[in-house]
Amino acid sequence: MIEIIGLNKSFGENQVLRNIDVVFEEGKSNLLIGASGSGKTTLCKCTVGLHQPDTGTISYNGRIFNQMSHNEKKEIRREIGFLFQGSALFDYMTVEENVMFPIKMFSNLTTKEAKKRVDFCLERVDLKGVNKLMPSELSGGMKKRVGIARAISAKPKYLFCDEPNSGLDPQTSILIDNLIKEITHEYKMTTVVITHDMNSVLEIGEHISFIYKGDMLWDGTNKEVLDTTSTELTDFVYASSFMKELKRMNG
């Protein structure tokens, strides 16, 4: 479980996050939704320590992350897998080297065992025979899947996905969403997915938090999100014509 209490973050004069309280539940797909520029990625980066919050606490299963020493933070970070929006694969490494990287850095597995783990992770994301390809030779969807394989290769407890289906076609998006949901349950991870895709919200969202212009406005389940009375959330949820049509059909 990841618990965030009273988090504030500003960049100069611009306050991006205001008094954020949120809990990301263990073993669930926790979705962080909101419009572009609402502060989702900043919150996520504060949570993993890429940004230093101005005030507030972030705790991983009771361990307060932003009060830890550098070495303690490193230990927590080794329990985190992160899928970046642009995949952030190391472009000078092959797919196999990318997935093997966390294993080589943090485990004492032999090369043979590490390769076995890489093959397992690539197979898990439905990618076979791409071990020797370079990231530039992969499609957007394949890059995301390699990113997921790299994120899970060191068996993390926490998985963060920053807009995992941005720039993907609907079919590949669903594939990625399902993959995230499956591995969350399979490895009992605490998964945090940043998205503004309502399809993801309905498909994989088990716990949803809505952030609006830097404020945490709402949280609940994917069933509750459709019946919300919050004006801002309603505007966000029913922005697409598909969702409008769904609402009309449901009366």
Binding site: V48, R77, R78, A88, K104, F106
Partner: protein, 247 residues
């Protein structure tokens, strides 16, 4: 002035992050060997070409300037040797390499920064500055003295080739000149400069690349800044070292 002081402070913090114990020595040595190859061996071609032509040009220019019966011909060899050892091979080579290697390092790190590859390393709990930059700095500091010695040798050798082929002076005068009044400390002085300049080129370029932000345009800007500032710092330290070691 305040901006310069701020940048010096940021550079110091950055360097203190770079010079930490590597996460895994085996991986550090792999990266080190790779950088030796990329930064060092990959620069041999340009060093051979530039040093060879410089040696030939210095020989011809010196010969044409001292075309007088009062000045001994062997001074052409002496001048070529001293120019190559004291200034061209360590300093001019460093300036050329700050263009080639400096822009390469800054654009590599800059594009890693904007594509979030550096963030990916940080999230994994890896000291990205240490992992990415330390092998570059140490590799160039190790290989640069060899490159400088190679450059000296090639420059002086091609000076000899000019004497043989064009006949500006006799080869025997040239050979006498390059042996005349030789002080081994000049080589030591050149090698000290080589190691320091290698450090400046890699660390300054890495600093600008590592802190690039925004778009591809910013990566281009940081690459230009890397070349400009590393060249300026090389020239400043060239003056300081020369005054410290030769006077």
């Amino acid at each position: 002035m305040l901006k310069i002081l701020q940048q010096i402070g940021e550079y110091t913090i950055f360097i203190s992050k770079v010079f930490r114990r590597p996460e895994k020595w085996r991986i550090y040595f792999q990266m080190f060997i790779q950088e030796l190859w990329t930064l060092g061996i990959g620069s041999i071609g340009i060093i051979l070409i530039i040093s060879g032509f410089m040696g030939m040009v210095i020989t011809i220019q010196t010969a044409s300037q001292i075309d007088s019966g009062w000045i001994p011909a062997y001074l052409v060899g002496y001048t070529t040797r001293q120019s190559m050892i004291l200034e061209f091979s360590p300093t001019m080579l460093a300036l050329i390499l700050s263009g080639k290697i400096g822009s390469n390092i800054a654009s590599e790190l800059g594009s890693m920064r904007i594509s979030e590859q550096i963030d990916a390393l940080e999230i994994m709990g890896i000291n990205s500055a240490n992992y990415l930059v330390l092998p570059k700095i140490t590799a160039l500091m190790v290989i640069m003295p060899f490159l400088v010695v190679l450059s000296m040798f090639i420059g002086i050798f091609f000076g000899y080739v000019i004497c043989e082929t064009v006949g500006v002076i006799t080869p025997s005068d040239y050979i006498y000149g390059i042996q005349y009044d030789f002080r081994p400390f000049d080589i030591v002085y050149a090698l000290i400069k080589a190691v320091l300049f290698a450090y400046i080129i890699t660390s300054v370029s890495s600093f600008y690349g590592y802190f690039a932000s925004g778009s591809a345009l910013e990566v281009g800007k940081s690459s230009t800044q890397a070349v400009v500032y590393s060249s300026i710092v090389v020239l400043i330290f060239n003056y300081i070292l020369t005054q410290m070691l030769l006077i």
